[in-house]
Amino acid sequence: MAKRVYRVVIVFMCVLISGALAVDKPTTPQKTCATDECHADYGKKAFVHGPVGLGDCKACHKPLNPQEHTYEFDRKGRDLCEYCHLDQATKKNIHEPVKTGDCIECHDPHSSDGKFLIPEKTVAALCAKCHTVTEGFAFLHGPTAVGECTVCHQSHSSDYPDLLVSDHAELCFSCHVVTQRELKKYEFIHEPTKNDCIGCHDPHGGSDSKLVKNLAPFLCYTCHKDIQKIAENSTYQHSVVGDIGGCMNCHTPHASTVKFLLKKDAATLCITCHDKPVGISEDEVLPAFTDEIEDKEFKHGPVAENDCSGCHVTHGGEHFRLLAKEYPPQFYAPFSKENYALCFSCHPESVVLTRETSDLTDFRNGNLNLHYVHVNKPDKGRTCRSCHATHASNLPKHIRESVPYGVWKLPIKFEKTETGGRCTPGCHLPYNYDRQSPEVYER
């Protein structure tokens, strides 16, 4: 019992003491609220809101009932802050808290240890309260990594989407100056590079150091759907295209001095792999291209010009060896224009269609076109490959020394003369041809 009385007395004494120490709320309007006794911490932080510093609390608060010490804001919603901070919400796109007048989501209205009266230690920490933009990234964009969101974004309003400080490309180039300077020297620029960096890059971070939104070829396929279709559905596929990062084997993502944004000349790119035999199926190995042309004196035009794509498609195709168009793989073939579509891409079909000519070709006896004679037959026309090596040879016009004919390497034995030539092949008797003094052939 005595114990209980003792406790009651102690509680009663505490109430009395605290009542004596407490400052009474003023019941009349005061000159300022931030005094040593009341609201003392408002003016003691590193950064103080102007009216608080001046002790002018009425700039924002007006008494509702002084006797009750109740107050209300002098203006409502956005108007409270915009009364002084006029220009914060004038642009096209407005930050949500600004729009709704929730300025105190980001600013302490009285004082703060952070610049601009932000209630967090850093801008990044403040933004992270609502925006989680770095989750799952192994690599962060420079400004994101150091928490400098305002390098790219406006805090209140902006004329650009995503509250960016300027237009996309202009913004990126404000730091990526070397890239911008270099681009001016290039004729072939990847379209997004001009004005849409974020088409490919995530401006906050990524799973790889280039901050790309996805890896090639998947990223590239988001726009290049035609290439995706070819690469994935063609009868003959180029294996490297579908590899992770495959497109980057041959293409550069920003700009190149040549078409198709190649990163090196075409032949160099191709012999990155084709300088050695390449297995293309379980039982077929493609010989090294470099072996085929090594030390050869006469090269086929596209080979001489380092342009493998003159005859081959690079992403995938419907013709063997990834040839761009139809090209008979055998020694004999009935002649049709379609059968020789590949060769006729560059060489006129008249070379085979015209029986008599004085201009089209040097392979003629007088005006008799010997291409016509050899190739233009309904059944057993000789195909181009019967006489010409497709890449290179040591004979003029890249004529073959021999051609596979079953198990036999059928010799051709071509000799060129000033006005014609001579063949001593396995196909027929030795024949000469001469453009100026035509040979007479016995039928």
Binding site: G142, C175, K259, P302
Partner: protein, 359 residues
Amino acid sequence: MLWPSRKGRPLKILVLGLLVQTALLTSAGRAELRKVKVGDTMPEFSLPDATGATFTYKHGASKVLTLTFLPTVQSRFERAIADIEAVAGVLPETAEGLGFAGVISGSAGKELLKSSGSGSKPGFRILLDGQYHLWGTLGVVAAPTVVIVGKDDRVLWIKAGYGYDFVPVVRAYLNQAMGIAQETAPEQAQHVKAVTNDTVVARLQRHLQMARILEQKGRLESAIAEVQKAIELDPDSIEPPLVLGELFCRSGRNKEALELTGKLKAVRKTHKARLLLLSGWARRQMGELEPAEKLLIEATTLDPESARALFELGKVYQAQSRTGKAMESYRKALTLVFDTSDRVEVSNRGQGSDPVSQK
């Protein structure tokens, strides 16, 4: 592409001459058709164009001729036309001495032009060689084939085939034929270059640029951190430490600024001036007015257009109560900042654009 300006013209002409000679030496005997090779005299010819008018090539006209034998496969024809137009597109101002023509050999010409909507345009005429006469005269074997003939009527260059490098290479040899100076020899035009933005210079510049943005926002500590990253990337480059010194001064870290400038060695006059400015600026802020004055006078002597050095000198004089001199210095600084059409140029003066080249 550079047109020779009056200043340095002899050098550019010499370089151009050497390029022409090099190109001729390297291409002569290499490129050839069945009947014509580089260095031969181009045969005279006449061909009708799509409108029926006759195009005649005659010797002695002192004009460059670019003749392109066009493919007759529709898709390749259109691609070739687009590329040739890309080459021709940048030539109008310089095309006075140029004959620019495409040739369609064979019977397909008129049909091809009709279906593609292409025709003879001013500056680029499409000629019809229905019977392959010009094709045969030159000994063309494939299309496209481009033949460029110099003002001396000799074949300067032949390219058969249609590769990835068609536009830059044709343009390079055309420039050569027209006597338009260019940065690289024509045979270098087929060497592919691509933008790389991960070089040390590019990365270093990114950090410096970001530092400048942060500095403008008053975030000096963050700006300093960015510059320090730039220094780590290339410790031998002088630009990042100079920027760091400025940031130290701006944030009142005077001892660090002095320590830094003590370690740096500048070769260029402008860099020396900036080092003196940083030392003077830091000492002024430390209250060491006499040495500051001496350093800043030296800085303004080396670089009389350093507005910051003049401003700092003004502050020294102001602190010394030498009002007249202070006013004079401030006025000079203000004149440099505002009495120029390009303030950016002034603020960047001496900073250069390539930090590595300033080692």
